[in-house]
Every structure is written in structure tokens, then in C-alpha cells.
Amino acid sequence: MSLFEQSLPEIHNKLHAKELSVSDLVNQAYQNIGERDEKVKAYLALDEEQARARARQLDDRLVSGEEKGLLFGLPVGIKDNIVTNGLRTTCGSQFLRNFDPVYDATVVEKLKAADTVTIGKLNMDEFAMGGSNENSSFYPVRNPWALDRVPGGSSGGSAAAVAAGEAYFTLGSDTGGSIRQPASYCGVVGLKPTYGLVSRFGLVAFASSLDQIGPLTKNVEDSAYVLQAIAGYDAKDSTSAKVDIPDYLSGLTGNVKGLRIAVPKEYIGEGVDPQVKETVLSALKVLEGLGATWEEVSLPHTEYAVATYYLLASSEASSNLARFDGVRYGVRADNPENLLDLYHQSRSQGFGPEVKRRIMLGTYALSSGYYDAYYLKAQKVRTLIKQDFDDVFAKYDVIIGPTAPTTAFKLGSQVDDPLTMYLNDILTIPVSLAGVPAVSIPCGFSDGLPVGMQIIGKAFDETTVLRVAHAFEQNTEFHKQRPQL
């Protein structure tokens, strides 16, 4: 059995018993990357020298018996929009192709404090804009289950790396579904925490009121471990939440007796592939068998979520991306006529088509005369969408549905049609707008491709979300299946 198929406590026991070293784990990661990443293309940069040195350091600490961190020795990959001191961070964009950060993001600091080993940076859609990873300005990631299909986006590299055994776990970021949708397409566990639970300091901003960092793992227990290590208030992020962090691991009891589940009819209705729907309904039967009950409910404003999201996210993106001007870092155009021309040329050369499209949409929605009709209107509809969730959570513990309306689609099949591409995120976007937590877990297969089930919880109730996901996982084998590469 591959090292990466073993549970975290198993790995730690072996490290403790000296049957395994951190260097073994890191070797395994690079060996798997060497064998598989030529096909998958999950990584943009590797940090082999530093990672091996770090592994030796941790191995020394193993010998001396010094206190060990929660994630001791685990090889991790980091999505390339999370800054890493001294390790190139490109955001999947030509604009930042040589960007060398001078500090670590708070999550990276926290992972280091938990004794992980960073092995590389993961491919993604440029500036996290996309649902297929075809917008990476370097090369697209491929789905490890079917190399002619997309891994989902924008954390496609993060999801594919876990599915392909190219990291023990990874970090991604989710704005409208960018952790959950690729987790679903690649058959891994992807958790988007409550907005504000995990610091965004050092995450290159796309849409600041929606962005959230979270883990991609091969099972729910690992997800709880990683969340434990990265959650918590950070004074460096002005939107960080001051809440007590519970013990997520002790919440994994396997017990869902009496749990009340809501299944929105909009999430299993028109537009959702019948096989995806059937797979999720079968998964609900498993939870029913464990003593949970479920009822159909309505989230009536679901159909307005995609339009709301694209207006708000693009508006925030156009504002956040104004900082890329070619002056302090990133691409600078040669021979500009003047300062204004330097901005224009640098931005035009550095940004790809999807990023330009969103900047244009956002600039338009925020421009004089259209602000009320588009931006303010969308902010008001966001209130209605959030209200839908509050109403359902007054009576139910969790909301469950598919993560995405279909399984992974073929590369190139939706590239010329942004609107269709945007609709792939119809089941993840409402959750992002409401700011609540959700996890996507593998719940079956359709024509050999993984299907994800989305479990959505109340704000800051990750404990219940993870408990339900874990209980399902304990009674099924879907999360143990691996793609043949």
C-alpha cells in the first residue's frame, strides 16, 4: 500500500516507531510526481532542495523526541495564489511568472508550525478565475480519472494532486466553488470553511468578500486535522472572525442519529444530470440507514445566484486587480510612451482572456450610471439568498445536494462559452454568497467518473458538516478508490 493511502494516525505511529522517516514521505511525494505529473500537470513549481532539507531537519527532531506538530512530516502542496516566502507564486498568471514573495501567508506559517513539508506550488486558473483549470496561463491540469477531462477549477491542481497521490494533502481557495467543484470532479474531499474562519492574509485577492482558503484531502479525518491547524483569528486579516475554535477531531463520532437533513429541490431538479442525482439520492439512503431523516425543501433564490455572483465577484476582482500596474512587481511592458501607457500595456500583456473579461464586466458594473442597476442590485439579491439559508437552517442541521450538476467534462468543450461554464458552479455559488461552510465528498461514480456530495452547514458549524461527512465515509468505500495512472 502506498504511504499516502495510510491514515494520518497510522503515519504518525510509524514515524514514532521509527519504521518510517519524514524523508521517506517526501521521497514518495517526489517519486509519485516524477511518475505521474507529466500526465496530470498538477504542479507549477517544485521545491525539492528545500523540502528535502526540511525533511532531514524534522527527522532529527524525531530522533531527539522534541514536541511534534499536529501534521508532523506531511508533504503538502500549496495552491499558487497563496504566497510562500522565497518560493515563486504566480497565481497561474503570466503577469506574476517571476514573482518571488517576501513573506509567508498566515496559513503557510501555520502549516509550518504544524511541522508540514511544502513540496511545491499547484496549478490553477489564472487569478482563481475559472471552473475547469483551462485558464491557467501555463498549461491546463488534467483529471487523473480521465486525462481528456478537466479536473475542475480553479483549485484543479490542488484536487488532482491529492487524487493522483502527488501530495499527502493540499490547500486550495474557494470563491464560488473553487475547492468543492474540483474535489467533486477528482473524487477527493474538499472543504470550504465559513467565511472568516481561516485567515486570507497572503492569499492573492480575487473577490475579497467571498474568498476562503481550505483543505483538499483524501478523507474527512485528514480534512478535520488540517482545518484544526489553519483555523483561527488573525489580526493581519481585517475580516478574520473572532470565534473559539472547537476540537474538530473529537467531533468525528460517526453518529448522525436524529440528524435533520434538508435537500433543496433546486439542487436535484432540472439541469442536474440524472445519474448525478440518483447517486446523491442513494448516498442519502446511507445516512437514512444511520438514523438521519431528510426532507425536500426550497432555496427559492437559487436561480439568481449565478448572475449575482458574477456581478459581485467581477466587481471585486476589477478593484483588486487594479494593483497590477507593472510598477512594483510582475510584468512590465517594454518601451512605454508614458506612465499611463505603461499601465495599459503591462496589464494587456500580463492578463489572459478570462481575467480581462471579468475586469471588464466588473468595471462596467461599478461604473457611473450602472452601479445601482448591477452592483447594488446584486448586493440586495445576495441578502435574499442568505435569507433562504437562514430559513432552512432554522429547522434543519445540514443541507445536502450534489456539488456540481455533472461529472467532469471534456477539455475544450466549454471554452468558448463563458456563460455555460459559469453555470457549472450553480450549486456551489449560493453557499459562497451566504458565507456558510460546505464540504464535497466522494459519494459514487457515474460512467467511471467521481460524483461529489455537498454537505452544507450553519456558519461556523464545521463540526456538524465534518461529522456527517465522516459518518457517511465510515460506511462506504468510495473515498478509497483511486484513479489508474
Partner: protein
């Protein structure tokens, strides 16, 4: 409401982007399709609805005005495309 090539040119200027004729054409079509889809929101009466800017109740975050260590000039300049004497260099703004 539909937007023209001229509108797209105007917005590109506001966004500090140069568009090729082809990009302008493509974007006009795509933005029109997206904005037409966004008009769906007009089906909803939001007259008395408060806008949500943030899902958390965030207020201004204040801290003491203390002198703290900052990045070194060398760190700040690490990624500068062009610099001189520890300063970012850009084309002259005035003649």
C-alpha cells in the same frame, strides 16, 4: 440594455486595458450575453431589501499607532521590474 463596441472601448480605458480589435469584438458579444443573463435579477423586487456587503458583521479594525519593523528596502525591491537607488523607476510624469 445592450452595450456597443464604443462602450467596451470606454470601459477598457477605465480598466487600463488595451484591447485588440478582435478582443473588442469578442468581449462586446460575451459581455452582452452575460449582462442579458444578469437582467434576470430584475424579476425580483428588492425595494426594501438591505444590501449585504459582508456576511460577517465586520466593523473597522483599529490598532495602536505603534512603530513596527517594516520590510527592508531590499525586500521591497526584490520584484521591482526597474529600480534606481532603492526606488521604483517609471517613465517621467512631467517634462
Amino acid at each position: 440594455m445592450s452595450i456597443s463596441n464604443n462602450d467596451v472601448q470606454h470601459v477598457a480605458k477605465l480598466a487600463r486595458l488595451n484591447l485588440t480589435a478582435e478582443e473588442e469584438q469578442t468581449l462586446t458579444g460575451q459581455l452582452n450575453a452575460i449582462l442579458k443573463y444578469a437582467e434576470k435579477l430584475n424579476e425580483l423586487d428588492t425595494e426594501n431589501i438591505e444590501p449585504t456587503t459582508h456576511v460577517l458583521h465586520v466593523s473597522n479594525v483599529m490598532r495602536e499607532d505603534e512603530t513596527k519593523e517594516s520590510l527592508s528596502i531590499e525586500q521591497v525591491m526584490r520584484n521591482a521590474p526597474d529600480e534606481e537607488d532603492g526606488q521604483f523607476k517609471v517613465p517621467a510624469v512631467m517634462e
